[in-house]
C-alpha cells in the first residue's frame, strides 16, 4: 500500500477545488430555483413589451430563439467541460496528469484551444467521397441530439417543451442520429468508414430496443410518458416504520428498479458508441471508424454529438431513475447537474476500464441477454402492479 504523498501543487489543487465548491454552492443557494428567476425576468420583459405594443407572436418568437441559444450554449459549454474532465479523469486513472498548461490551473482552457484549432483546420473532402452526403452527415448526426434537449427537464420547470410524450420523443429522435453515422460511413468513400458505419447501424438499432423496453416499467408505474411527471413521481422518501430511509427514486425500487437501471445504462453506453461498445469507431481496428475521413469543423460536430449524447443519456438516467432534480438544500437544477455529471463519470469510468466487445458478441449480448431480461422486468412490473 502506497500512502499518497501530496506535493505543494496537489495541495493547492485540493484547496482550489474546495474553494470552488464553496463559492459554487453559495451562488447556487443565492440564485435559488432558476425557473422562478426566469419567470420573474420574463414577466418583466413581457410587461415591457406590452407597454410598447410589440405583438405577442414576436414575443414568443424571441422566447424560442432565446431558448435555442441557451440550449446550444449549454451543450457547447458542457461538452467542453466534459472533454476536459474526461481527459483529467482518464489521466489521473492512468497515473498521469493530463493537460496542465493551457489556461493556467490544470489546463482548464485546453478544450477551448482545441475547439479553436478544429475551427481553423482545413476542411478536406476526399476525392472518393460523395461530397453532399459527406457534408450532410455531421449535421444529421448532431441535429437530432440537439432536438432531444428540448424535452429534457433540467430541474423543476426548466424544460423548453414539456411534451406529453417526452420519453417517446427523445427515443425517437436519438434513434435518428444513426442516419448521420451511416451517411458518414458510406459517403466517405473509405472502407474503414464503411465498416464503421455498418457496425454503427446494426448496433444502434439493436440497442434501441432494450433501452426503450427497460423504461417501460417506469411508465407503467407512473402512468405517463411525460418526463416532468416522472421526475415529480420520484420526490419524497421511502418510509420504513415512519422513518425516511431512502429517497423515492426509481432506482431504489426492489429488483425491478436496479435491473431497469442497469439495462438502461448499458444500452445508453452502447447508444453513445463509447467503450466498451465503441465498435463503430474502434480505433485499433477501424482506425477511426465512420469519421476516419473527417477533419476540422465536421469532425468536431461528430465529437460534439457524441458528448452531447453522453450528457443527454445521463440526464435521461437522472430524470428516469435518480429522481430528476429532487434533493435537499440546493435548488433542483443543481441537483440535476450533480446527478447527471455523476452518471457521466460512470460513463468515463467504464470507458477507461474495459476492453472493447466484438461485433457479433455485442449483438448476442443485446438480443440474448438484455432484451429477454427487459421483458422479464416488464413482466415483473406488471405483477407488482397487480399486487
Amino acid at each position: 500500500m502506497i500512502l499518497p504523498v501530496f506535493t505543494q501543487s496537489q495541495k493547492r489543487s485540493v484547496g482550489v477545488l474546495v474553494a470552488m465548491g464553496a463559492i459554487g454552492s453559495t451562488i447556487a443557494l443565492l440564485i435559488g430555483e432558476l425557473n422562478q428567476r426566469i419567470f420573474q425576468v420574463w414577466g418583466f420583459v413581457s410587461e415591457f413589451a406590452s407597454k410598447i405594443s410589440i405583438p405577442s407572436f414576436m414575443l414568443s418568437f424571441v422566447s424560442m430563439v432565446l431558448q435555442c441559444s441557451v440550449l446550444i450554449g449549454f451543450i457547447s459549454v458542457s461538452v467542453m467541460f466534459m472533454v476536459w474532465w474526461e481527459r483529467k479523469i482518464s489521466a489521473h486513472m492512468q497515473s498521469r496528469l493530463g493537460p496542465m498548461y493551457t489556461g493556467g490551473w490544470h489546463g482548464w482552457a485546453q478544450t477551448i484551444a482545441d475547439a479553436i484549432k478544429l475551427l481553423l483546420k482545413e476542411d478536406i473532402i476526399p476525392a472518393a467521397a460523395n461530397p453532399w452526403v459527406h457534408r450532410l452527415a455531421p449535421v444529421l448526426a448532431f441535429v437530432p441530439c440537439f432536438l432531444c434537449y428540448a424535452a429534457l427537464p433540467f430541474g423543476e420547470g426548466l424544460i423548453s417543451a414539456d411534451l406529453d410524450i417526452g420519453i417517446l420523443y427523445i427515443f425517437a429522435l436519438s434513434g435518428l442520429s444513426v442516419l448521420g453515422i451511416v451517411m458518414a460511413g458510406w459517403g466517405s468513400g473509405n472502407k474503414y468508414s464503411l465498416l464503421g458505419g455498418l457496425r454503427a447501424a446494426a448496433q444502434s438499432v439493436s440497442y434501441e430496443i432494450p433501452r426503450v423496453l427497460s423504461v417501460v416499467p417506469i411508465i407503467m408505474f407512473v402512468g405517463s410518458l411525460k418526463l416532468t411527471q416522472i421526475a415529480q413521481a420520484q420526490t419524497g422518501f421511502w418510509h420504513v416504520g415512519g422513518i425516511p430511509v431512502l429517497p423515492r427514486w426509481f432506482i431504489f425500487y426492489p429488483v425491478i428498479g436496479q435491473l431497469a437501471f442497469i439495462i438502461f445504462l448499458i444500452a445508453s453506453v452502447a447508444e453513445t458508441n463509447r467503450t466498451p461498445f465503441d465498435i463503430a469507431e474502434a480505433e485499433s481496428e477501424l482506425v477511426a471508424g465512420f469519421h476516419t475521413e473527417y477533419s476540422g469543423m465536421k469532425f468536431s460536430f461528430f465529437f460534439l454529438a457524441e458528448y452531447a449524447y453522453v450528457f443527454l443519456s445521463s440526464g435521461m438516467t437522472t430524470t428516469l431513475f435518480l429522481g430528476g432534480g429532487s434533493g435537499p438544500l440546493f435548488p433542483s437544477w443543481v441537483w440535476f447537474l450533480l446527478k447527471s455529471f455523476a452518471v457521466v463519470f460512470l460513463f468515463l469510468w467504464f470507458r477507461w476500464t474495459f476492453p472493447r466487445l466484438r461485433v457479433d458478441r455485442l449483438m448476442e449480448f443485446t438480443w440474448k441477454f438484455l432484451i429477454p431480461w427487459s421483458f422479464f422486468n416488464i413482466l415483473a412490473a406488471g405483477f407488482m402492479g397487480l399486487m
Partner: protein, 144 residues
C-alpha cells in the same frame, strides 16, 4: 440455471474489480514529470551529446576506427615548416545525423585522464536542418 446466474455474478464481480483498480489509481499521485518545469537528473553514465576537447586530442584516429557509422572525421595538424604530422588535431567533425550515441569512440579514446571525445549529459538537442548536424571543432592555431 445455477450456472447461468453464477456466470452473471462472476462477470459482474470481475468487471467491478476492474473498475476498482482504475478507481484506486485515481487519487494516487501521478508518475509523470512536468518536463520543461521539472527535470530528472541524468545518471552518471548517461550518453548525451558528444563533446570534443580540441586541445588534448592527439589525432590518433582510434575513434574513427571505432565508430560504427563513420560519423567522425578529422584532420591532423601539420607543422607548416617541416610538413610533418603533429600529435594535434587541425579540425574535428561529428555528424550528429549519423551518430548512434553508443560510446564506442569514448571508450577507444586514449587521452587521460579526461577523454578528448566524450558524452555529456546534454539531451535537449535539436537542429533545424541537416547541415546543422555537422558539428565542427577547429583549433585556432590552424586558423592563423
Amino acid at each position: 440455471m445455477i450456472l447461468y446466474f453464477s456466470n452473471i455474478y462472476n462477470v459482474a464481480k470481475a468487471l467491478l474489480q476492474g473498475m476498482g483498480v482504475t478507481f484506486s489509481w485515481l487519487f494516487k499521485p501521478a508518475m509523470t514529470v512536468q518536463y520543461p518545469d521539472e527535470k530528472l537528473k541524468t545518471p552518471e553514465r548517461f550518453r548525451g551529446a558528444l563533446t570534443f576537447d580540441k586541445e588534448s586530442c592527439t589525432a590518433c584516429l582510434l575513434c574513427i576506427k571505432a565508430c560504427p557509422t563513420a560519423c567522425i572525421s578529422l584532420e591532423p595538424a601539420v607543422d607548416p615548416t617541416t610538413k610533418k604530422r603533429l600529435a594535434k588535431v587541425s579540425w574535428y567533425q561529428i555528424d550528429f545525423g549519423k551518430c548512434n550515441y553508443c560510446r564506442l569512440c569514448e571508450e577507444a579514446c586514449p587521452t587521460k585522464p579526461i577523454k578528448s571525445v566524450r558524452h555529456t549529459h546534454e539531451y535537449e538537442w535539436g537542429m533545424k536542418q541537416r547541415s546543422d548536424m555537422f558539428v565542427k571543432w577547429i583549433r585556432e592555431e590552424t586558423l592563423k
